[in-house]
Symmetry: C2
Subunit: 149 residues, 2 copies
């Protein structure tokens, strides 16, 4: 059935562990994601940051980090990377002089949309053998796990 034993090995305890399958699936999907956006100058995390900003213009770094489970210390390089690439704009936030308001630039909007297209194509390819119902169920089950942290 499942093929964690490609050389005809005996199945192990791992077959019954959700964590094991999650680990394998997540790393396989991440590897295909990387192939899909190769040369586009974006990674899973930086795309996630761009997506949260796209949906919430003017949001600050800390809020993006909390939404994604990324530590504030690690947000710095991530935001610098996107600012440096001309994807996002970092302006002083009105009302809080400690914070920055993040928005996509015009160029960033275009790049972001092309990333979304590539990534949707990658998921459609990878999940071609899944029915729409199966995809929905998978997302529903996974989203019950990922939001605690």
């Amino acid at each position: 059935m499942s093929d964690a034993e490609p050389e005809g090995l005996h199945p192990s305890v791992l077959e019954g562990l959700i964590g094991y399958h999650l680990r394998r699936a997540s790393s396989a999907v991440a590897a295909d994601f990387a192939r899909a956006v190769k040369g586009a100058g974006v990674r899973q995390v930086s795309f996630a940051v761009a997506a949260v900003i796209a949906a919430n213009p003017g949001i600050n770094q800390g809020a993006v980090g909390r939404a994604l489970g990324v530590k504030r210390a690690n947000m710095v390089a991530l935001v610098n990377e996107l600012v440096g690439a001309g994807i996002i704009d970092r302006r002083a936030a009105r009302g809080d002089r400690r914070a920055f308001a993040l928005t996509l630039t015009e160029e960033g909007e275009r790049r972001y949309r092309s990333w979304v297209d590539r990534i949707r194509a990658h998921e459609d390819r990878l999940f071609a053998a899944f029915t729409p119902g199966e995809r929905t169920i998978l997302i529903e089950l996974l989203s019950r796990l990922g939001e605690e942290e």
Copy 2:
């Protein structure tokens, strides 16, 4: 519904991407795994190695690595770690003088069983809100993804 936006943010494209939910879920489960086995001297990967050896006594490193998607170069430290901890035994393989046959030691069998107990408890706790049917479906869907590599 889903809570990737804990501060009342607008939902983003990420909500519809399986890869995103996989990433979050996998890292949340891995973090709980780490808490569950804290002090037991085992990690997700080393447990996986032990599990494959437990189910396939006499198997060699390369085969374990291929079964788990771990590069042979990285298997070395992993096997050394388990040998050093007295969990597994590394003997010359009969019939191939390049390879080693790996088995659990007696002590290793005991430790392995206690790890399995802890890990099953961790999964039962984490998936308490999942029905047995949901767990089965989740494993089934995930196992269609993780075995390519």
